[in-house]
Structure formats: structure tokens, C-alpha cells
Symmetry: C2
Subunit: 426 residues, 2 copies
């Protein structure tokens, strides 16, 4: 796998040029008016509608090559761009244009006793390096979110979507030039050589943040190699805890929705915890609901007895992100045992309690250390759109900088603007 020295030198030069161009573009972009960024978003949406046949044709090349890359039917479906899906992509751009510009937002401000007027003001991060896999609509979404938040972006898509990404990138950059923004605000890495990624990950002087979106091994590699901050999106091992005083009909709906509405995503629930006092009544009922939807139940000894046809769970099952119609089930003595279980088993993504006990709800909200903590609602609501962020580039499982859905605001920093009238320090 060792490349020759010549190839490495070329890659190094190429990646340096891309990052330098991104940095220059970001300097222009950081101070342009919001209206110009919105004009780009709307123009890009129009161009996607105009160029739909061309985009679909390029996408077909990727779809035809997909089995050769080992993609299964579900992955090929996610890769496929149809005219109606492209309409949604264009609409998403227009929706992002309507969101409030985060740049320049005064987060807070005050006048100091010496008369200095201090404002903490939102500013772009600079350059985002975004690494992602198959779905080509992400190319457009990510570019839109980065540019709207004032950042230049370097997109590194997967080889499976190579042709689709090329044509979508051309549409986006032609629209940039058309409205008078630097073309290099959005760059697509033109090689899928994995060593190029390594070069970018060392450029902490030019790239402000790297966002990997894909499998765990990709994220781990990026986190280990990157010399700049990384926003990581790891596992979602999410819990629903049904408390003693839960409305049991509501609890059944929330458990079923959290598990089954879209089992393959990170905010789907993987584990059900039930208070011992209601287990004998609640578990058989919710068990029937879940089994009717094809869910396999992997149970602790106490819940296993109450759920005929279920299998005994291993300890490993309580640490697993199934992403499938499988659910671990455990009976807990009380709220505190539920919190302790979640503390040691949750991936701190999303955890929910179903209860009508106000003290229990407040204790759960305060003690559970996850990006979203839900009371009487499905775990599936931990999502940028559902929580009101408008658009998201991923869901962070980090606690630093961005936690949970990562929208426009999460791609910004802030600076202190201090206005005086000659103040000096004594």
C-alpha cells in the first residue's frame, strides 16, 4: 500500500493548495452580507432543478458501479438520486436560506463600569473539512450549512458517490461564481486516495475543524490522526425508562416509536428499563406490541420470565447499538438504579423517561448526562429539525463545543468586540 515518493509529494502539494484556497475563501466569506449567501443558496437550488437530468445521469453511473463496491440494496437506495429526491435537496437549500444568519449574532453584551462596551459576537470558525460516505445529498446539505455559517468547506465524499458528487459540486460552485462569491468556498477533494485525508488532518493551521460522518472506524481514525478539533458522531445506545407512575398506554407508544419508527438510526432506542413495581403489568403488554412489529427481545432474568418467547440477554447486549429490530430489556428496582444503569451503559446520546411523577422527571433530567434527555417523548426527537435548529450537519456525541444536533450555530465561534473611548488600564 506504500505509494512512491513522487505520489506522496504530489498529494501533499495538492492538499496544501486546496487548504490554502479554502482559507483565502473563508476570509472573504467571513464578512459578506447574509443576503449574498442566501442568493447563492437560492441560485444553487434553481440550478439543481435545471440540471436534474444531468445529475440523475451521473448518479446512474454510481448506482451501476455500486454492487462492485459491495453496497447492499439499502445502501444503493440511499445512494440513488431521483428527480423527486433532487427536488427535496433543492427545497432544503431554500429552507437554509430562510434561517437566521448566525454570523454577527450578539450572544450577550454589557457596559463595564469604566464605560467599555463589551459584546460577545458570533463569528465563523474558518475552514471545515467534512468527510462523509455514500449519500450524495449530503454533499449539498453540508456545503449549504457550512457556507451559510460563514465557513469555507472541503468536502471529501466516498468513492461510491464519485460521479454524483462531481456534478453536484460543479452546480454549487458555478452558483458561487454567478453570485460573486469565491469558487473555493466549496471544494470537493478530487481524489479518494485515503492518504489525502491524512495530509488534511495535519493542517491545523489552515483547517479549523474536521467533521467525519460515517462508520465508527472512520471516526476513530480521524479522531486519532487529526491535529485540529473533531466533531464526532459515535454510537447511539439510547434508553427508555418506564417509571412506576408512568401512563402505561403512553409508555407503550413511546417505547414502540423509539424502537421501531426507524430502527437503523442513532436516536432509536436500544434498551428498555422498567420499574419493578409495574413490570408484571407493563412488560407483557409492551412485549406484545414490540413482538407484533418483529422486535426480538433480549431480557434480564426478571423480564425474561414475564416475556414468553424472549431470550436471555448477555451483558454485551446491554452495551450494543443494534440498529435493528432488537431490544434489550431490564427490570430495575427504582429510578436511581435506572439512572445508574444509563450512566454506565448509555452512549450519552439520547435517553428518555416515561413518568407522571414530577420529582422523578426532574431528577432524571438533571442526573442523566446525555446530549438530549426526554420526558414523556420518543428518543427519535433528538434531531436538528425536531429540536428547532433548522438544519444539521450531524449529531455530536462530544460534550465539547457542540453537543447533540450540530447546526449553523455549532459551526461558529465567537469573539469579543470591545468599543471604548480611550480607556487604559491602571
Amino acid at each position: 500500500m506504500q505509494s512512491t515518493a513522487g505520489e506522496i509529494l504530489d498529494l501533499e502539494r495538492y492538499t496544501t493548495e486546496v487548504a490554502t484556497a479554502a482559507q483565502s475563501a473563508s476570509r472573504v466569506l467571513s464578512t459578506v452580507e447574509g443576503a449574498l449567501k442566501n442568493r447563492w443558496l437560492r441560485r444553487a437550488a434553481e440550478r439543481i432543478r435545471e440540471k436534474t437530468p444531468e445529475i440523475v445521469a451521473a448518479n446512474q453511473l454510481d448506482v451501476q458501479a455500486a454492487p462492485g463496491f459491495g453496497l447492499n440494496a439499502a445502501a444503493i437506495d440511499r445512494l440513488t438520486l431521483t428527480p423527486s429526491r433532487l427536488l427535496s435537496v433543492a427545497e432544503a437549500l431554500e429552507q437554509i436560506a430562510m434561517l437566521t444568519d448566525p454570523v454577527g449574532e450578539v450572544i450577550e453584551g454589557s457596559i463595564r463600569p469604566n464605560g467599555l462596551r463589551v459584546a460577545r459576537v458570533r463569528a465563523p470558525l474558518g475552514v471545515v473539512f467534512f468527510i462523509y460516505e455514500s449519500r450524495p445529498n449530503v454533499t449539498v446539505d453540508a456545503a449549504a450549512i457550512c457556507v451559510k455559517s460563514g465557513n469555507a468547506v472541503i468536502l471529501r465524499g466516498g468513492k461510491e458517490a464519485f460521479h454524483s458528487n462531481q456534478v453536484l459540486h460543479r452546480v454549487l460552485s458555478d452558483a458561487l461564481v454567478e453570485v460573486g462569491l469565491p469558487r473555493d468556498c466549496v471544494q470537493l477533494v478530487s481524489t479518494t486516495d485515503r492518504q489525502a485525508v491524512g495530509h488534511f488532518l495535519r493542517m491545523s493551521d489552515k483547517i479549523s475543524v474536521t467533521i467525519p460522518r460515517g462508520g465508527k472506524s472512520l471516526i476513530e481514525r480521524v479522531a486519532a490522526e487529526a491535529r485540529m478539533p473533531v466533531i464526532k458522531h459515535f454510537d447511539g445506545i439510547c434508553h427508555v425508562y418506564v417509571d412506576r407512575l408512568a401512563d402505561q398506554a403512553m409508555a407503550r407508544e413511546i417505547v414502540v416509536n423509539s424502537k421501531c419508527q426507524r430502527p437503523g438510526v442513532c436516536n432509536a432506542a436500544e434498551c428498555l428499563l422498567v420499574h419493578a413495581e409495574i413490570a408484571a403489568e407493563f412488560l407483557p403488554a409492551v412485549g406484545r406490541d414490540l413482538v407484533a412489529r418483529g422486535v426480538e427481545l433480549r431480557c434480564c432474568a426478571r423480564s425474561h420470565v414475564l416475556l414468553p418467547g424472549s431470550r436471555l440477554a448477555t451483558e454485551e447486549d446491554f452495551h450494543t447499538e443494534f440498529l435493528d429490530l432488537i431490544m434489550a430489556v431490564r427490570v430495575v428496582e427504582d429510578l436511581e438504579q435506572a439512572i445508574t444503569h444509563i450512566d454506565s451503559h448509555s452512549s450519552h446520546h439520547t435517553d428518555a423517561i416515561v413518568t407522571n411523577d414530577l420529582q422523578a422527571a426532574e431528577r432524571f433530567l438533571a442526573a442523566v448526562d446525555s446530549s438530549a434527555v426526554m420526558v414523556n417523548a420518543s428518543t427519535r426527537f433528538n434531531d436538528g429539525g425536531e429540536l428547532g435548529l433548522g438544519a444539521e450537519i450531524g449529531i455530536s456525541t462530544d460534550k465539547f463545543h457542540a453537543r447533540g444536533p450540530c447546526g449553523l450555530r455549532e459551526l461558529t465561534t465567537y469573539k469579543y468586540m470591545v468599543r471604548g473611548s480611550g480607556q487604559i488600564r491602571s
Copy 2:
């Protein structure tokens, strides 16, 4: 320098025990009432007053050993604790007790169309690993800021302050136990073996953030080795730009204050930029002010001519944090050249413009990408106390998570608290 395997194993066990205890303590601390944390701060202040003779005696051991560690007179002065300095340390604790608790602050909240009540709420980060050098009062400040913001802290002080830190730490932890908080909320690493630091830096599952405060080599080592986020405090290469329409009397005061009020700190100015149109009038005047205060001027060719007795600057001088009575001087054609110079030479810590031209001020504020951008004020105001943060654990030169002064709020994350009434996703 290779230790034996036995010693490495012991260090690994020791550091793991410390980090595990910190994590347990942080879980308790994260949900205690603010009043309890404030009671600890006030009790610790009282104990410092009570134990002043004991603390001063321990400090004297460090002061006596200091020449052996190569500390110069200024460093020994910073190391020394006198009764009056300890009074200030105790008062600082009482001031931190009066600050608003950041934990639980509702940053924003709204009701979604489906009735979900969404709140973004401040929460502690967890465990802070704080590495610092000589000044023992930092032991108390850092512990206070971390605990007040709901975080457990692992303190790793320098060998020069070993005895002082031991006794101060005992005072702080006795006060923790006295008010009913876990003793392990504040731990002091009992070895100054540098390998212990390496062990801690790998524990990203237990330590949420590492904050190194000290020389550049320390920060670089920590940034390279840490597997968790690091809040870095690098150089302050700060600029004052005097614009064409500046009030020149004000400009002279701001330049002198920025350079001379405390030349050894990060927010002191290192470079003066002057608009070409006023250079012939302004430079000789400000030059006299600076030279009268013992400042050595290192000038570009154009300013050199206007400043008799100055020396010609090298390119390196414009990239240097002097931390001394030395100032680089350059004449620029206009505002844009000043911005370009700052963009390529500043460490993005603090940069100031002196001008009465509103458009120039606004352009400078928007275009200069530094943690604090000042208009008509000294660079020395980029400081937690001066900007109204109340207390700070350092000044971040990063753009990610915390930028500029790092106070209570900067040691927190947030989580989404979502309160529903049975909502599920369709």
C-alpha cells in the same frame, strides 16, 4: 530516562485511581445545589485565613528551594505567599461564591409545533485536568472555578510549589468534607513524575478536558499527547493600529498602556501599526513616550527614519512575542494593509484600532479574527475580570468551545432537556 516496568505499572494504577475517583465525585457534584458549592468556597476562604501561618511556613520551604530549581527573582516573587497575598486568595474565593452558578442556566428554550418543550441547559463538563506551573495561588483559583462550575478537578502543580500546593490542597479538601461534598472533587497529583501526566492525557473516557497553563513547550506537549479536548493558551502577539483619523493624544495613551502597563503578559501589545498619512506627526510623539518608559523600538524602514535612535526590525521581530519593553513598529498604507498585516502576524489573541472613523472601526471589528478586537481601548482589557466574566482559569487562543477568557461558563457544556406529553414521531 526509561523507568522500570514496576514503576510504570504503579503510576498507571495511581493515575487510574485518581481519575476514577474524580469521575465519581463529578457525578455527585454535577447535581448539587449551588448553595452547597458556595458554602464550600466561603468555608475554604475562612480556613485559608485561619491557617495562614501554616501555609506561609510551607511556602517558605518552596521559596528556600527555589534557587535550586533555577527560578529567578521575578519567579520567586510570584511563588511567594505572604499573609496579605493569602487574604487576596481568600477574597477571590468569596467573590467566586457570589458569581451566578452556570449550571442549570437555560441558554434558550422554545415550544415546538408538536408541543414539545425544548430547553438548552448548561451542564458541567465532568472532570478537568489542570496542569500549571509555579504560582501556588492558582491552585486555589483553579479549584474554585472548576468546582463552582460543577466539575471535579485534578490539579497537577509544579515541583517548585510542591509544599505550598500540598497544604493549600489540604485546606480545600478539608473544607469539602466539612460541608458534605466529596473530598475527590479536588485532587492534587502527589507525584511530579512527568510520566503521570502522560497517563492522565490518555484517559479520554474519564477526563473531559485538559487545561495546560505554562510555557509553550508544556502546551505543545499536552496538545500532542492528549486524547481529550485541550484548552490552549498560546502566544499573545497583539497589535495596536493607529488609523488616519485617530485622536492622536488618545492613541499615544493607548499605545503606551498596551505596551508598558505590564509588558510580561499575553495581552500586552508587541507591534504598533501606523497609517502612512499621520506617521510623520504621530510616530515621533509616541516614540518619545515609549522611549521615556524604556521601550526599545524595532522599526520598518519608513518608521525608522521618523524615530531617531530606533533600530531596524527584522522580519522575525514582527512574529515575536517579546514579553518585554520592546515594540515592533510599521507604517501601513491604509486600514486594509493593517488588517492584512494583522491577519498574517497576529496570534489572534487581542488586536486594537484607534480611530474616530466609524466605518474603519466597524470594518476592523468584523475583519480581524482575534479573541478580542478593541476599538479605542488598550489591549490589556482582554481579561476575564475586565470583560465581566468574574473569574478566569486562562485565556484561550483556540476558536473551538472557549475563546478568549475562560471563566465558569467556558467550563460547561449543555444538554437538551425535552419535556413532552406522549409525543412520538410519525
